[in-house]
Every structure is written in C-alpha cells, then in structure tokens.
C-alpha cells in the first residue's frame, strides 16, 4: 500500500487500522503527512477498501510484482491465492475431513500458524521453523500455498528471493503418523526460541468411537496444554469418506 502525499491531509485517521503499525506521520514539504513503511507493510488492505478510512482517497494499491505480491496473497483474506485458487492462508484442513479423509485414524495434523495472532512473520522465520521440522523427515502439505515458496520441501528451504517478504500470517501444515507426533511437537517447542515472531499451534485428530482422541495425551506429554475451545467437524458431510 502507498499514500499519495500530495493528497494526504495528515489527519492520521488511517494509523490505527494497520495491524502491523506500519503507518506513521512524517514531515513532507513543510507539513505533516502519513507514510507507509514499505518493508513493514504486509499488503493486507486494512487501511484501504476494507476500512475505507481515508477521507481524501490518498491511500492506493500499486500493482504488486512477485515476490512482493506474496504479501497480499497471504495477508488479505479477500484476495484469491493463485496457487490454491482459494482465499486465505490455508487449506480445507479438517473442516471437510468427513468427506475428504485427509486425516485418518493413526495420523495427526499439525499446523503452525506463523505470525498469528496479529504480529506478522517474515519468510525467513517460516524457513527456520520449516527446516527444523523437515529434519525429522516429515512432509509438508502440498496444497498449502506455502509449499510453492519452498525451493526444497524435503529440507524446508525456501526460495532465497522470498526470505525478506513479510506477511500477516502463513501456515506450515503437515500430516504425521501418531507415533511421530511427540518428536514433532518437541521440535516445534525447541525452534520456538529461535524465531523473531509468535505462532499459534493447531493439532488435528480423528475422534475415536468412545469420543476420545489419541493426540491429547501425547500433546500433554510433549509439554503443551490444550486451550478449552476447539473446532469440531461433526460429520454431517456426504459422501462420507470411508476409511480402509
């Protein structure tokens, strides 16, 4: 996003709308105007059409060239991601698991939502976490838009050209056998001290016939305390996926 300084009247109304605090007042030709810090801006569009806050339409979106365009794809949920043709950062994950069978019994899903809640992440931090996880020989979800940014999904290495790009959030998604879950969670815990951002952590499991899930005990053994709220797919989708 950019601000046309000729048009800007320096009212500062747009400043609080920026999730990453990238808008500030600067002196320009003897008056105060607002400016968007370009390395910090994640192109989420909050200061633009979403809020429609500027009284003089001084804020505008220039044509974004790759790799900067990555920022918008991941940060603005209204924009269609070219690699997935869907909106947002992720996939259908467990929301349609009753019909897709993506997570079957004996497996767990782990999603590391980098930059969430609301602090943003660089792709360099994404790479740091991805490489720590990849060392365990696990595979990243190929349908997640992060996959196309990796030059080597086996090592978790990203394309060098995207490392300095910042987004509001992006997700490292993986599916692993239950027997590997504890070591993956341990690796996540260890790498959490080596990054500049925060992340939210998701753990997905099929529900057993008695209503329990096998992952909770493993998560607790790995030192994680599940929060009281969850997302539950209640199994009303059709045709129901039949597990072998």
């Amino acid at each position: 996003m950019l601000i046309d300084k000729e048009k800007c009247i320096g009212c500062d109304e747009c400043h609080p709308y920026c999730p990453v605090g990238a808008i500030a007042a600067v002196e320009w030709e003897g008056r105060s105007v607002s400016e968007i810090d370009q390395p910090g801006c994640v192109e989420c569009g909050c200061c633009y059409k979403r809020s429609d806050v500027c009284p003089v339409d001084a804020i505008y979106m220039p044509k974004l060239e790759w790799p900067r365009s990555i920022r918008e794809y991941f940060s603005n949920p209204h924009v269609t991601h070219p690699s997935t043709t869907g909106h947002g950062r992720g996939t259908e994950e467990m929301k349609t698991n009753d019909v897709t069978g993506r997570f079957t019994r004996g497996f767990a899903g782990v999603a590391i939502e980098m930059g969430r809640p609301g602090v943003g992440t660089s792709m360099r931090d994404m790479q740091t976490v991805a490489m720590a996880i990849a060392k365990l020989g696990v595979e990243f979800e190929p349908n997640n838009p992060v996959a196309e940014l990796m030059s080597d999904p086996k090592t978790g290495k990203f394309d060098e050209r995207v490392l300095d790009e910042r987004v509001l959030s992006a997700i490292l998604e993986l599916k692993i056998p239950l027997v590997r879950l504890k070591e993956v969670l341990a690796a996540v815990k260890e790498v959490s001290t080596k990054i500049e951002t925060a992340f939210s952590l998701d753990l997905i499991s099929r529900v057993d016939a008695d209503g329990s899930t096998p992952v909770l005990t493993i998560a607790k053994e790995a030192g994680f305390t599940p929060r009281p709220n969850t997302k539950t797919n209640v199994g009303l989708g059709r045709p129901l996926f039949r597990e072998a």
Binding site: E93, A198, F199, S200
Partner: protein, 212 residues
C-alpha cells in the same frame, strides 16, 4: 484456514461465543452445491433473532448489515459462517441442520466440553477435532487481556490491536458507544465471524462504562 480456532478468553467469556461453519469441499462435493447452500441459509434464517453475526466467503465490510438473510438465500456461497452467543440456540440450529441432512461438512467452533455435550444431546458423533495448543515463540509482542480477546475474534487479524486501543480512547472521550465501536471493529472482519456482542461487553470492561 483455522480462523475461528484460537479465540482467546476465559471459559466464562467463551460460553457466549460459538461459530457454526459449513463448507463444501472443492475436491468432493462443491459441484452442484449452490442450491443446497441456499437452503442452508434458509434454515439459518429461522434463527435470525439469535444470530450475532454471519457471512459467506464474500467481504462482509458492513459488519453483517451488508448481507441480509434474504440475499444470502439467493447468493452463491461456498462457505457459511454464523456466530451464536447462546449454546441452546446453536444446538437447535445444528439439530435442524442434521435433520435436513444437507450433506455439507459442518464445524462447531467453541468450548470443547460444551460442543461434545451439544453433539451428544442431539445424537451426533463428532468426526474430527482441531485443538488449539496456544501461542508460542515471541509472545511478549502480544497485547494482554481484552485487547487480545477482541483481536482473536477475527482469525485473519484484520482487527488491529491499535484500532481496538483507538476505539477504547474514543469511547472514553465520549465520542462513541461501546456498541458502535464493536460494530466498527466488526466491519474489518470479512467472514462475519466477529462476535460483536462479546466485543461490546469487553469494550465496556475496558472503558469507563459508556455503553450505549
């Protein structure tokens, strides 16, 4: 997207925050689902008095007012989001959706124990669960308390921490009511999953009691 999962708050606060999400799978049952999704909106319209917020996958830039339930019953929806504040009302809606057997994947986002009980009470066996294992890494960058609770009601982080603080100042200056501020924050959330009812209560706690 896991945009409804990591809503922060105490158990008591979360008792007034349930999101019902229905979506087709582009790999399985999206083709030919347009009419079914419209019929689901028709069922949801039976609960219009109980809805805190709602939306589909198009921008909800008017905080829920842009969409009325009549329009949504004619729109093309790939995803349906509905926010309830009352456990009994989401239960009633879920029960009706189950009985109509639309065949569209349905997710309840809310307190785990309550969701399990709701499912048991209406004869549903939960299929898959997504647990929140919390926030890790440089958590000192996060705001505390009510600001974080309000912010996480939009999982895409469109409701900026700074905007919440700004609204608190505006309320304290007498320039805005808590209700109007909650509505203004809600506009930022495309999906219609922002719980304006809960946000208003939290803003009231954060300010000097100017709720209008």
């Amino acid at each position: 997207m896991t945009h409804t999962l990591h809503r922060q708050g105490t158990v008591e606060d979360l008792r007034e925050d349930y999101v019902l999400l229905l979506r087709t799978s582009r790999f399985v049952n999206h083709e030919g689902s347009e009419k079914t999704m419209q019929q689901i909106w028709e069922v949801i319209s039976h609960y219009s008095e109980d809805l805190v917020n709602f939306g589909n996958h198009y921008p909800n830039w008017d905080g829920g007012e842009l969409y009325n339930l009549e329009n949504l019953q004619k729109a093309k929806s790939r995803i349906i989001h509905v926010v309830f504040k009352d456990r009994e009302r989401i239960k009633a809606c879920l029960k009706e959706l189950k009985e109509r057997d639309f065949g569209i994947s349905t997710v309840v986002s809310g307190l785990c124990g309550e969701t399990e009980k709701i499912c048991a009470e209406i004869g549903i066996a939960p299929h898959t669960v997504n647990y929140s294992l919390g926030v890790h890494g440089r958590t000192e960058q996060l705001p505390k308390g009510e600001t974080l609770e309000i912010h996480t009601m939009c999982g895409h982080a469109m409701v900026s921490y700074h905007l919440i603080d700004h609204m608190v100042k505006e309320i304290n200056r007498g320039k805005m009511t808590c209700q109007a501020a909650a509505k203004k924050l809600s506009r930022m959330c495309d999906c219609g999953i922002f719980n304006t009812y809960r946000a208003e209560k939290l803003l009231d706690k954060m300010t000097t009691g100017c709720s209008g």
